[in-house]
Amino acid sequence: MARSTPLLTAEELARTGAVGAAVAACHEALALEDREPRVHALLAHLMLEGDFYDQAIAEATKAIEIDPDCSAAYLALGLAYDRRGGMWDQSVLVWHELAEVAPDLVTAHVQLGEAFSAAAFDDEALESWRRALEIDPKEARATYNLAIASLKREGMALALPLFRHAGELDSSQDELFFHLLGVKDPGSGPIEVAQVEPSRDARLAAAGRALEAEDYFVAADLVRLVLDEDPDDAEALALAAFAYLKQESANESMACALRALSLDPELATALYCLGVVYARRTGLNRHAARVFIALAKRAGTHALVHVLLAESLLGLQRFAAASKAYRLAVRIDPACVRARFGLAASYLTEGRYAEAQWEIRRAAHYDTKRQGLFWRLYDEYAGAGE
């Protein structure tokens, strides 16, 4: 069935964040046809945006009653139960249903695991997160949850590598490097080395763009051209360090970063690479913390710098200091999922279980929002109905 004009208006308004006007348009649409699942699902999403959990639950439930295949309504319902709290049994049922309706939707399995975990069904939770990783081995939130589960059973020393692994799956880590590098325009299309202007700055800028496009061979060629003219170019060495880091060549990365820092001890991109290499090695947490403290002085406005520092502090058993660094990261970027999970971990070390659970719920909220998951499911569902 085609969507009514008020529903189309409501969708448009909702996508631009005009929640109040979108709700009014939804009610207009319901006046024309009150058994339209798309309107109820959209209304549930809008109620959730405004933190009206009971209304969101009511609208999503109506949508599902009208059409049990309305996947977007399951998402809104599950998120509403989770965020309202204290309704873990219903939450488990909803995420289970969504996993049935959309079996390849990795988030449904992650959320199901979190609902199981909140209800203290730990084995079922682990099973759900493993299922999520079977669907998408790079699912960062499932890995963060496994890290939290490991912390609860085995302590920080075994959980920390999992936190770091999850962090590396999270695209935000690379974003920090490119932020430090100052790449503003990643450009489009492949870069031809021969067509890059033969100047140091143009080559380094092009190498940065090539790294962002994960074209490590082109980046390496451009960096080599710069180093052939000046082997003491610290910025070129830092780019090389990052390229090696991304290719799992940690020692080459360390060598380039250390050389770069011997030429320019405050170079943020080199500090980043060296810190990440150190953080991967057991026994070098103190070194990593030292490097990330230096990086925080250079780029303290970026949340992830504090997250990286916090992880090193966890490795040093300085849980209170780690908690402080995580809280700073969350203050800078409330949507930083890695910081939310890290903060949850540090709360667990302090016996603050309810606060830890709350941080995990906030991470889920921001993660689903960042992915634009509701709109993906809604558009698929709404399109299929026409």
Partner: protein
């Protein structure tokens, strides 16, 4: 000495000679560089030299990779020790009878182990008699009892009573869990010597207990 040793180590990397690299490390150790300092004093400068050699074209990509493999092979010889040294202090931990909560115990137990304590974890649902038995078996003089419910928290008093009646007046009993964090007087009521609100506190409190005990014994 350090700069020369770092240059020698760098040379062994480029020569792809891990045995010679280990000898350089051993010589540095004999010359007085302690394990904690080997990475900073020797390995990191050698890696910096490797980076310089690659950047200047002195060594090519293949040689850089091969040298890095040698650097990897000797990495464990120069890394600072991951775990702290054994403190020799035994700590018995467990969650009190009729309480199945384990998260706090697992995290604090693992933290103490990593810090070098000899942790005897009795698990959840532990009767006072089992705490006593393990104290007598191991000679431990520190017991950490976990409880997350009011009723189970009150029953921690049984641990202290049993230790006292068996003549273990010198055993330090520490408690951990929500009821004790919420009501500090409860810890005193059950005969505990202190409260552990979290993992970092556990380290601080145990360090203090160990220090005080060593001072008292030294004084005697």
């Amino acid at each position: 000495m350090s700069a020369e040793a770092a240059a020698s180590l760098y040379r062994t990397f480029v020569d792809r000679d891990p045995a010679a690299a280990i000898q350089v490390v051993e010589r540095a150790r004999v010359a007085g560089i302690v394990q904690d300092q080997l990475f900073d004093a020797l390995y990191a400068p050698a890696m910096g030299l490797l980076g310089r050699a690659w950047a200047s074209g002195e060594i090519d990509e293949v040689a850089f990779t091969q040298a890095s493999v040698v650097a990897e092979q000797i990495g464990s010889f120069v890394m600072p020790p991951a775990a702290k040294r054994d403190t020799g202090v035994t700590v018995v931990i467990g969650t009190i009878h009729r309480d199945g909560h384990s998260i706090g115990r697992a995290i604090i137990g693992a933290t103490l182990k990593e810090a070098g304590y000899r942790v005897n974890d009795l698990g959840p649902d532990v009767r006072p008699a089992d705490f006593l038995e393990r104290v007598e078996e191991t000679g431990a003089r520190i017991v950490v009892v976990f409880a997350e419910m009011m009723r189970s928290a009150r029953s921690v008093a049984g641990v202290r009573e049993l230790l006292e009646s068996s003549g273990h007046h010198d055993v330090v009993v520490l408690v951990s869990g929500g009821p004790f964090a919420a009501d500090r007087a409860l810890a005193r009521e059950v005969g505990a010597n202190g409260i552990i609100p979290g993992a970092e506190w556990a380290l601080k409190l145990l360090a203090r207990v160990t220090r005080d005990r060593a001072a008292a014994e030294g004084g005697v």
